[in-house]
C-alpha cells in the first residue's frame, strides 16, 4: 500500500497530464473544477488515468456521480433532495459534503471536489483492493 505522499504525487501527475495544469497548481485543497478548470469530460479521462496509475478499477459514475446529479428522483428545482444528499454521502464517503449540503445546487457540486478528495478516493480503492487480495 503506497503512502499518502506517494498517492498524492501520482494523483498530481495524473491531474497535470489530464488537465494540462502546472505542478504548483495541484495543491491538496485545490478544487478540480474551480481551481484546475476540469470539465465533465475530464472526469472520464482522470478516472482512466487513475486506473492505469494505481492499477485499480473505477466503474463509471464512481468518481463523479453524474447519475445521482441527473436523476429526477434526487433532484428538484436544480437542487439535491435530502434523499439525494444521503445517496451522495453514501457513494462519496471520501468527500466532505457539509459545505455543499448548505445549498446543494447541482451545478455547484463539482466546485466542492478537491485534489485531497481524489487522494482519499484512491486510498479507499487501494485499501479495498488490498482487503480483497487483488493488489
Amino acid at each position: 500500500m503506497p503512502t499518502r505522499e506517494e498517492i498524492f504525487q501520482k494523483v498530481k501527475t495524473v491531474l497535470m497530464e489530464a488537465l494540462a495544469v502546472d505542478e504548483d497548481e495541484v495543491r491538496p485543497e485545490a478544487t478540480l473544477v474551480g481551481d484546475l478548470g476540469a470539465e465533465s469530460i475530464d472526469f472520464l479521462d482522470i478516472a482512466f488515468r487513475l486506473e492505469k496509475a494505481f492499477d485499480i478499477k473505477i466503474p463509471r459514475g464512481e468518481l463523479f456521480p453524474e447519475d445521482i446529479l441527473t436523476n429526477d428522483k434526487y433532484v428538484q428545482d436544480g437542487k439535491l433532495t435530502p434523499a439525494g444528499l444521503e445517496e451522495l454521502r453514501r457513494r462519496m464517503p471520501y468527500t466532505n459534503l457539509d459545505q455543499f449540503a448548505k445549498n446543494p445546487a447541482v451545478q455547484e457540486f463539482a466546485n466542492f471536489l478537491t485534489v485531497e478528495d481524489i487522494c482519499r478516493f484512491v486510498e479507499r480503492k487501494l485499501a479495498a483492493a488490498q482487503a480483497a487480495g487483488t493488489v
Binding site: A18, A20, L44, D45, F48
Partner: protein
C-alpha cells in the same frame, strides 16, 4: 469537399497502433489561406489528421458501430511547421480504449523528424438511430479509400475482416 485529412493508412494494428500518411500539395487551397504568400499547413489540420488516424484506430475496436468524438486534447506540442511537398506520417498509439472513452498518444513525423506530438482523448457514444453521422455505405467506401483493410491486421496478425455492420444491407 471531403473532410479527409489523411490520404491512406500504411499500418494498422487493431487496438494498438496505426500509421497514416498525408501528402501536402501546393495545389490544396487551405495551405494558401492561413498566411497569404507563405503556404503552410495550419496546425489545426495536422491535429485533424492525427485525430482521424487515432479516431479510426479507436472506432475499429467497436466494429465502427459507435460514434467516436474528439473530446479533448490534453496536450499537444508543435516543433516545426509542415509545408507543401512534405509527406507527413501520423502515428497513433492506443493508451486505453474503453466503451465510453479512449486515450491515444499521437505523433506527426516528416521522415525521421518529429513535427508534433500530443495526446487525444475521445468520447464514445452509441450512434444515433435517427441521425447517423454517415451513411454506412459511404463510410465503408471511405475506409476502403484509406486502404484500412489492405494494411489492417488483428492482434493475431491476420487481416482485418470487413465489419459486418457496415456491409449488411440497410
Amino acid at each position: 469537399m471531403r473532410w479527409c485529412w489523411i490520404d491512406r493508412f500504411i499500418e494498422f494494428e487493431a487496438g494498438r497502433s496505426a500509421k497514416a500518411v498525408k501528402v501536402i500539395s501546393l495545389a490544396e487551397d487551405y495551405v494558401h489561406d492561413y498566411l497569404p504568400g507563405y503556404p503552410l499547413v495550419p496546425r489545426c489540420f495536422v491535429i485533424e489528421g492525427l485525430a482521424q488516424t487515432a479516431g479510426l484506430l479507436v472506432s475499429q475496436q467497436f466494429d465502427f458501430r459507435l460514434n467516436v468524438i474528439l473530446a479533448k486534447i490534453p496536450r499537444i506540442v508543435f516543433f516545426h511547421e509542415a509545408f507543401p511537398g512534405d509527406v507527413l506520417t501520423y502515428v497513433a498509439r492506443a493508451e486505453f480504449i474503453r466503451r465510453d472513452g479512449a486515450l491515444t498518444s499521437t505523433q506527426c513525423l516528416r521522415g525521421e523528424e518529429l513535427l508534433a506530438e500530443g495526446q487525444i482523448f475521445f468520447a464514445i457514444f452509441e450512434a444515433g438511430q435517427q441521425m447517423p453521422l454517415f451513411r454506412r455505405a459511404d463510410f465503408l467506401h471511405q475506409l476502403r479509400m484509406l486502404r484500412l483493410f489492405e494494411v489492417g491486421r488483428g492482434p493475431d496478425g491476420t487481416p482485418l475482416p470487413l465489419p459486418a455492420e457496415l456491409t449488411e444491407p440497410v
